[in-house]
């Protein structure tokens, strides 16, 4: 009974086509990982692997949060502030009456609610996501600064040790989240994310609840961003009201690097994750190669442009032949 049904054949060919543009990225990432392991063999130990994946984990999560929106044609400029807010809520609640579970719930609820509200404004008022989330980013930053005007607060030590100690818990969480994403994609709502991003009118006519899909995407993205804040707070042991700011641009860079298009429907989550891995491993490799800071700025730019441009050139070259 090993006959391949037409639908799985179709699935396979689509996946193959999706991966084709990413071949270059996978190669570059693999090369960097190998180079890193050569420069620092300690990465192959549990402790080294754990520390490396912990430093990558927050960027991987915000990249997922960003890619989720970009896949259905949206974008968010509020990711960084939302990470800060998640960290601030975690650091101000967990040592108080709410406790750790209450704190986690509060962070998750805040992320979901803010995401859903943003999504509702974008879809129902038909406003551009980039403007709504830009405004949202100011409001969220302000709230984070009101809750915690300067770095402080605390996360219970045991939680920091569980999430960011010398064990690969962060990596396992990432695998778990990716598995959940895979499962989510199999649901009608998940399928709708691609459909609504690729061709929203077509999706609507085929019965996809396009508006509900978009609100759900924003809510999930908000949840992921706020949880990233929770992890950052655990990793650092405390809250900082402005720590998330650089994540906004980095999440977009990682997603684009991973082949996720701005116009929706194009790209894969594995590509985006790979993009974030490249951005992260690059920092370590350049450190071990002893690049001076100025060269790091240049090298970083060149690698990013190269990883995006080379596959594009290859496609054009192939098409011309």
């Amino acid at each position: 009974m090993s006959t391949i049904s037409p639908s799985s054949w179709l699935y396979g060919s689509i996946q193959l086509r999706r991966n084709r543009g990413l071949g270059g990225l996978y190669l570059v990432v693999a090369a960097f990982l190998i180079l890193y392991a050569v420069l620092f063999p300690g990465i192959l130990s549990i402790g080294g692997f754990s520390k490396f994946t912990q430093n990558w984990f927050p960027l991987a999560l915000v990249t997922m949060a960003q890619a989720l929106l970009m896949l259905n044609g949206g974008i968010t400029l509020a990711i960084g502030p939302l990470v800060s807010l998640g960290a601030v809520i975690a650091a101000t609640t967990m040592e108080g009456a709410l406790g750790v579970s209450g704190g986690i719930l509060a962070v998750a609820a805040a992320g979901l609610a803010i995401g859903a509200i943003t999504g509702a404004i974008v879809t129902h008022l038909r406003l551009p996501a980039i403007i709504v989330t830009l405004a949202g980013s100011f409001i969220i930053s302000g709230v984070a600064l009101i809750l915690l005007p300067r770095p402080g607060g605390a996360i219970p030590d045991w939680l920091s040790t569980v999430l960011a100690g010398h064990t690969p818990v962060a990596f396992l969480l990432l695998v778990l989240i990716l598995a959940l994403w895979k499962a989510f994609l199999a649901t009608p709502l998940g399928l709708g994310i691609y459909a609504a991003g690729d061709n929203s009118v077509g999706a609507f006519r085929s019965g996809v609840p396009v508006e509900r899909v978009k609100v759900a995407a924003f809510a999930l993205s908000g949840l992921l961003a706020a949880l990233t804040g929770l992890f950052v707070a655990a990793q650092t042991g405390s809250g900082d009201p402005v720590i998330g700011t650089p994540f906004t641009l980095n999440s977009i860079a990682a997603a684009v690097l991973g082949g996720v298009g701005f116009l929706g429907g194009k790209g894969t989550m594995r590509g985006a994750i790979c993009g974030s891995l490249l951005l992260s491993v690059m920092i370590n490799v350049m450190f071990f190669l002893g690049f001076p800071p100025v060269a790091q700025y240049v090298a970083q730019g060149l690698i990013i442009v190269g990883a995006v441009a080379v596959p594009e050139f290859l496609t054009q070259w192939r098409a011309r032949r």
Partner: protein, 356 residues
């Protein structure tokens, strides 16, 4: 991103340190001649040392000047056979990246890490990891909350704010309307300087704070902010600016609108000092000396060699006023046009500061 500071109030910290110092002195006394090594140091690291300089952001001129003093110090220590290598990282303003850099320094097993923190709390865990591995960690300028470091080196931001406010009170005879210019919100150094000024303002109710503003430590945004404040406020008797570029921006805004200059506080930014002289301003300035970087490297090497180091090195705030500004401006051409003219430093000064 210039200097951030610790959240523990300076007075509390001093009191704690006094206690700790007393305890340490007692211990050293009872242990007789046993050498009292500094915190984090395990004594198994031999010269020449590798030093990591984990910067949060290398682009501002202040940072470039600081890096200059660090490199100069490393060159000297290199000639003395004490340091073999300096690794420099720039986290591009991202505290998460800085964590990654410090982790890499631990992985590379450097002997000492000199760090300006991008967040007073975010680096706590990775820095205490470094300390556990016997790496000397010297933290200056913007400080971390954790005490698991070899030494923290800084001026006192509270005192900065208080002294500036006191000068303003004496200039205006305790009566007048002032504007306060702060650095960015959410950054502890800005917060600390502002807090230091408050008790002085409370004690002198004749001094009215009309309004205050937060901008980046940069001339252009400060000038912009002051320009709009000038439109809104016809009477201003003084500008209590808590950062050098802020003061330069403020003076330029007054100039542009043809308003008469008012007493202005500030920092050793060359631009501000030159405007001060040029406009015949009533001015006052202090500084976060760039040589804190050189002092930090020196301190790390001293600690690695087994010398006892105070856990907190409080560097007195050098003051520039009408009597001393000439000596600073005389050296101005040795510093970048948008840079900071810092006070002179040498080994003797370092030894004196570390002996406290």
């Amino acid at each position: 991103m210039k200097h951030l500071e610790n959240s523990i109030s300076a007075t509390l910290r001093r009191r704690l340190l006094a206690g700790a110092a007393a305890a340490a002195a007692l211990l050293a006394f009872s242990a007789g001649t046993a050498s009292a090594a500094a915190s984090c140091i395990k004594g198994d690291r031999k010269a020449p040392y590798t030093i990591g300089w984990a910067n949060i952001y290398s682009v501002p001129t202040w940072m470039k000047q600081t890096e200059g003093t660090i490199k100069a110090e490393v060159d000297e220590l290199n000639k003395a056979g004490l340091v073999k290598d300096l690794m420099i990282t720039d986290a591009q303003g991202n505290a998460q990246t800085q964590i990654q850099h410090i982790q890499s320094m631990i992985d590379a097993n450097v002997d000492a890490i000199v760090v300006i923190a991008g967040s007073s709390t975010a680096l706590d865990r990775v820095i205490s990891d470094a300390c556990d591995k016997g790496i000397a960690v010297v933290n200056f300028d913007s400080l971390v909350d954790t005490d698991k470091v070899t030494a923290k080196i800084n001026t006192d931001s509270n005192e900065w704010g208080a002294t500036a406010a006191k000068w303003m009170v004496s200039q205006l005879g305790g009566k007048g309307k002032i504007i306060i210019m702060n650095g960015p919100a959410g950054i502890s150094v800005s917060d600390d300087r502002r807090k230091g000024a408050q008790p002085v303002l409370d004690a002198n109710p004749g001094l009215k704070v009309i309004t205050e503003t937060n901008t980046e430590y940069n001339v252009a945004p400060a000038q912009e902010a002051m320009t709009s404040l000038l439109f809104a406020n016809p009477d201003i008797d003084g500008v209590l600016s808590l950062g050098g570029a802020l003061s330069a921006g403020s003076v330029m805004a007054f100039e542009r609108q043809g308003r008469e200059q008012v007493p202005t506080t500030g920092e050793n930014a060359r631009q501000f000092l030159e405007l001060w002289k040029e406009k015949g301003l009533k001015g006052w300035a202090t500084m976060q000396p760039n040589w804190l970087g050189a002092l930090s490297v020196y301190t790390a090497v001293q600690a690695l060699q087994g010398k006892d180091i105070p856990a907190f090195v409080k560097v007195p705030l050098p003051v520039i006023d009408d009597s001393t500004i000439g000596s600073y401006l005389a050296r101005a051409d040795k510093f970048p046009a948008d840079g900071y003219i810092y006070s002179d430093y040498d080994k003797a000064l370092f030894d004196k500061l570390l002996a406290k």
